[in-house]
Amino acid sequence: MATGPLRFCTPHIDELPTTGSRQAPGFAWVAVSGAQDDPAKNWGTSNRKRARASLNGPTEQQKEALSARQQREVERKIRDLNSDNSKNASELAIPKKEGGAGASGAVRAGKTPNTKKILGSGKTFAHYLDDEEAEIARTGRRDVDVEVSTGVQRPSKTPIARRKTREDSSVSGSPAPVTPMAPPPWPRTAQALSYGEITNLDDVDDEGEDAVPPLPSEAQLEALLNAPPLTYGQARSRPPSSSAAPPRRFCETCGYWGRVRCMKCGAMTCSVTCKDDHDQFKCLKMYA
């Protein structure tokens, strides 16, 4: 879209001659650099027609191509990949011990009411995850942080003088530090968290660095160490930023780079022979 010479007489607009402007026709050739060379980058624009059309990014049609149906297909594939073959295996019965102890029936079911419930429950991991998320959504905090307020309240046997320290220590959650360094579960006298040791770490690892960022202070380090553990969802790895390379697509039939997209189902194949195979055997699956 080069701008040609102004065709109409416009009094207030004057085109100044620059080195770039020259008498050009109403269209421009734009070099498609390297689009044909690297097959890895070529998957969306394999033939020249599409290359020309998609210079400005995917067209409307190409955007529609990744429609809801493909998303569902992708998610179904991911779920299959995560499956543990538990469909046919979860009913796998535990073989009875031959000649077991006389109370084997009762033992199998669990010794206490709690364990009976556990052994008899058919909950899967997804149930527990949902339970925890529902708990967090309901009460706003995690199960481990909640103090025992709904449990059985036994009359406290500690004398009043000592009662306060117990409450303080359990509420604050961090061990009452007598020394400036709070002891980790394995306090070692030689290797206690001492500031001198932290600077030692600094010397060993950052040698020759002039602009060293300041080491975290004691309080920051303790805050890091005592931070509550992340929930299952919080600890998940985040997707890469959108500025990273677009996901690579591969041929469904042979596994090479995908270069040709099937118009019906959106699957990629690498060449005509693989595409024929796809049309015969795999394309129908979307309509089945």
Binding site: L119, T124, E135, Q191, A235, P239, P247, T253, V272
Partner: protein
């Protein structure tokens, strides 16, 4: 004799004060294998953590019984550990009872006299933690119990960066700074540890593990060669034998291009051939498959890639079923580094490590970058450590030291750390919860103790 006495002790609702526990048992319950052993042992026993039924044998195998199985075809496997957390306790109880039995690999475990150290993965929902605590104390009746964060135990194992001739640190001393990449069956976790304690805000999890790689390989093989949808065990073996992580994915993909089905005119360059033949087991003569360099004359007969080949001596020679593996060797492990190939919205392994580091204060990052240890079953894939190191070096600024190493015994390293930690009796005694304390304070108190809140 002693066992019967212990049995009656288990049935008592409130236990009489028992003798102090004599032994410590470390159990690293993973989704694929259970690593078990007493703390005094040097190495652990690796036991498949599953119940398997073979329709051909009409037998159900529990745990270590699988070693006696001759026919792994169409093995239906039930795994009590899901996503790294023990969910199916009736199955897990069967496995544990089999392991603890008198004739088992451990030589019999008397729970009432044993302290149990059980590992747990980060991010556990409260329900699974509660179940573990209740089952250990009420059902099995252990005398003492400590539920440890799995990756945290790695800090007590000897560092793979020191030469093996260096004297090992005394048991119970954790390494100072360690970034543990645990590539397991269900997922891969990245956990920075400081003196053996995890820095929780920086822990990350990638939901790709050996199970996903095996399933992906199963789909590829089923689409291209013949249907192996039911043969999970076989495909797992193929993955362990033939798969590797490629250092230059694009180049390796070019080398294995099939040229549209025509016979491979392009022979792989030199002696570094990627394409291999996998000889499938037939469970009569061959129990476990193996790989062989590709021989095109044998598979030229059958286009599907499954060739029945007779060797030069006709009558007595066994027929071999051959599977030709080209890019199926390195495409599934590539998912670890580029999950977007399949459409999983996660960063790869390198991206996850960088996300974890980004959550740490800037001054600590070089320390952790220089101490990255990779453990877990999936870490045994050849080329994984090199690829991680190369990618990290490329994405971290110049001059920072990046050291990535696989632990000497990748599968048992967590157990080894637990055993070394347990050998230091004083340290263990501080965190262990005894049976008396459990029945006195209740389960919620125990759970908060293990989370680090509340002091003795």
């Amino acid at each position: 004799m002693a066992r019967q006495k212990a049995h009656s002790l288990i049935n008592a609702p409130a236990p009489a004060p028992a003798a102090p526990p004599t032994a410590t048992l470390i159990l690293d319950a993973g989704a694929h294998t259970l690593k078990a052993g007493f703390s005094t042992a040097g190495t652990c026993h690796i036991i498949p953590n599953c119940l398997a039924r073979s329709d051909r044998d009409r037998r159900t195998y529990i745990a270590a019984d699988l070693a006696s199985c001759r026919d792994f075809g169409e093995l239906a496997v039930r795994r009590p550990v899901e996503r790294g957390y023990i969910v199916d306790w009736s199955g897990e109880k069967a496995v544990w009872e089999h392991v603890f039995a008198a004739g088992g690999v451990l030589g019999g475990v008397v729970a009432a006299e044993t302290t149990l150290v059980l590992t747990e993965q980060p991010g556990a929902p409260a329900g699974t933690a509660r179940m573990s605590d209740e089952m250990v104390f009420e059902e099995f009746g252990f005398a003492g119990y400590y539920r440890a964060l799995g990756p945290a135990l790695n800090a007590y194992a000897p560092s793979p960066f020191l030469p093996s001739t260096a004297p090992p640190p005394p048991p119970g001393t954790p390494l100072e700074c360690l970034l543990v990449v645990d590539a397991g069956h269900s997922h891969t976790t990245v956990t920075p540890l400081y003196h053996g304690r995890p820095l929780h805000p920086a822990c990350r999890r990638l939901d790709i593990g050996g199970k996903l790689l095996t399933n992906h390989l199963k789909q590829l093989l089923s689409a291209r060669t013949f249907d192996v949808h039911k043969e999970v065990w076989l495909v797992n073996e193929i993955k362990e034998d033939a798969c590797f992580v490629s250092q230059h994915f694009a180049r390796d993909l070019e080398r294995t291009w099939k040229h549209n089905g025509s016979p491979r005119t392009k022979v792989d360059d030199g002696g570094d051939s990627i394409v291999q033949d996998y000889i499938l087991p037939d469970y009569e003569t061959i129990t476990r498959g193996f790989t062989r360099p590709h021989d095109p004359t044998l598979t030229a007969r059958n286009r599907l890639g499954l060739g029945l080949a007779t060797t030069s001596t006709p009558a007595t020679a066994p027929k071999e079923h051959i599977l030709t593996l080209g890019n199926e060797r390195f495409v599934p492990p590539e998912l670890l580094f580029t999950p977007s190939d399949i459409g999983i919205p996660s960063a790869g392994l390198t991206g996850t490590v960088l996300q974890s580091l980004a959550a740490l204060p800037a001054s600590l990052r070089p320390a952790f970058l220089a101490n990255i240890v990779v453990v877990g079953g999936t870490a045994l894939l050849p080329g994984l450590v090199e690829r991680l190191r190369a990618e990290l070096r490329a994405r971290v600024e110049e001059g920072t030291e990046v050291r990535v190493a696989r632990a000497g015994d990748a599968v048992g390293n967590c157990w080894l750390g637990g055993a070394r930690m347990a050998r230091d009796g004083g340290g263990l005694g501080r965190v262990v919860v005894t049976r008396g304390e459990y029945f006195e304070h209740g389960e919620g108190w125990v759970r908060r103790r293990f989370a680090g809140k509340g002091v003795r």
